[in-house]
């Protein structure tokens, strides 16, 4: 499979990349790890005339943890997220999630920026970023703009990122409590049939002081489950409150029939995965 013709550009800095994108306009696409874009180009579903490769911009390959502030450059690969000891301390849910993405070869190339920016509802990082209440940094011709992950996703492949902007960084606060990313998939390397990201903090008296729940691939965007999160936080975590939180989250999902199964099956799988993921997060809290 041969892609359409394009001209290749490799800028050395973010301003250079932003300027290129502005000059070339609609006909240009930014490429990060390429593991979503290149397959799409092979199918000629994308036929950019210019490809702006971010691999030469070293400032985008960076993990910085300072106190509770975590910043990850967009070109950081899944493999680098997995092997980062400082990230394991600051937010172990990142490694747990990244290990469930694709396969080893893809994880060496696939980046956090590409995963969150392209808007594929099957990607795992977007729901995780919503769970972490992350902020995305966008650089465009008018400078820098911050958008919350919970506000970023509009529909499948449609996000708050303007065509002339590049997503350069994700930022979030370190999370100390219980965590879990649970994913049901048909085989290693597959997108989720249903997946859930859960963070729960337990106080000394056993109450839940912070809860955050988000879901992957159960609608045309990732879903932050505000009601389910609030419910676990106000009622504490027990069998009854978990059931209630799961029921609330299930009201938000809009799965569709596809080769991962009929919508009804996905609802069934989603409820089980979310229940188990909450239980696991709480057991680690």
């Amino acid at each position: 499979m041969i892609t359409g013709n394009f001209e290749y550009h490799q800028p050395g800095s973010v301003p250079e990349a932003v300027a290129l994108l502005s000059d070339l306009g609609d006909e240009a696409r930014v490429i990060a790890g390429g593991h979503s874009l290149i397959p799409t180009m092979k199918l000629r579903l994308a036929m950019p005339e210019h490809l702006i490769d971010l691999q030469g911009i070293s400032e985008l390959k960076n993990i910085a943890v300072s106190g509770s502030d975590v910043r990850i450059g967009a070109m950081t690969t899944q493999a680098e997220l997995i092997t980062s000891e400082q990230l394991l301390k600051a937010a172990p849910i990142i490694r747990e999630t990244a290990l469930q993405i694709a396969d080893p070869q893809v994880r060496y190339m696939g980046t956090i920026g590409g995963n969150v920016a392209n808007g594929d509802p099957g990607n795992d990082m977007p729901a995780l970023m919503q769970c972490l209440d992350a902020t995305f940094v966008l650089q465009g011709p008018d400078g820098e703009r911050l958008v919350q992950a919970r506000e970023f996703y509009e529909a499948a492949y449609f996000t708050a990122r303007d065509d002339l902007e590049i997503l350069t960084e994700v930022r979030f606060s370190a999370c100390a409590g219980g965590f879990s990313y649970g994913k049901q998939k048909r085989k290693i390397g597959d997108y989720a049939t249903a997946a859930a990201a859960v963070l729960l903090t337990k106080s000394a008296d056993g109450s839940c002081t912070h809860a955050s729940v988000a879901l992957t691939n159960l609608a045309d965007t990732p879903l932050y489950c505000a009601d389910a999160s609030a419910l676990l936080q106000s009622k504490g975590v027990n069998d009854a409150s978990i059931a209630e939180a799961v029921e609330s989250a299930m009201e938000q999902i809009e799965p569709v029939d596809d080769n991962r199964g009929p919508a009804e099956f996905k609802r069934h799988a989603a409820a089980i995965i979310l229940t188990r993921t909450i239980q696991e997060a709480w057991s680690r809290a």
Binding site: N5, I38, Y108
Partner: protein, 162 residues
């Protein structure tokens, strides 16, 4: 689009080719540089037959444009052993029947090589998880896993020379 000169360091040798930006790394390796160890299987980044090592990473050379690999160090199966002196992994695949048709084998061994570089003492589960990006339609994986574990043992023997 006009062709550009792409220079790669393949198996320790600096090689150049003229290629359009849209030419995939696997195409340039096989068709221009005549390095036919890496195979084209699915060409959709699922099967891993095209796996090569690039700057210390296992990558699927069907999901990368050759121009993106400009100046990088690439190792293919040709760079691991020779017919006269097989690499420990090649010897081990032969010994443990880790292949039947052999189509997936170059990718499988190249991937296993990187896996053992990063984790010289893998458990069976580590091996299975580590080669999850490589499909084999013949063996059922059992003997591949055995071969990789045996190669790890062999490489860990003090007298062994990799």
């Amino acid at each position: 689009m006009s062709k550009q000169t792409i220079t790669l360091n393949v198996n320790g040798e600096s090689l150049s080719a003229e290629a359009e930006p849209r030419e995939l790394l696997i195409h340039v390796l096989r068709e221009q540089l005549k390095i036919t160890g890496p195979h084209i299987g699915c060409e959709t980044s699922h099967c891993g037959a095209c796996t090569v090592e690039m700057d210390g990473m296992s990558v699927k050379s069907c999901t990368m444009f050759a121009i993106q690999a400009q100046g990088k160090e690439i190792t293919t199966i040709e760079g691991l052993g020779t017919p006269d002196k097989l690499h420990v992994l090649q010897e081990s695949f032969k010994e443990h029947h880790g292949l039947q048709c052999g189509f997936c084998t170059p990718g499988m061994i190249t991937r296993a090589h990187r896996l053992l570089e990063e984790n010289p003492n893998p458990t069976e589960e580590d091996v299975r998880f580590g080669i999850a990006g490589n499909l084999c339609r013949c063996t059922g994986y059992q003997n591949i896993v055995k071969a990789v574990l045996a190669a790890a043992d062999e490489l860990n023997q003090p007298e062994s020379v990799a």
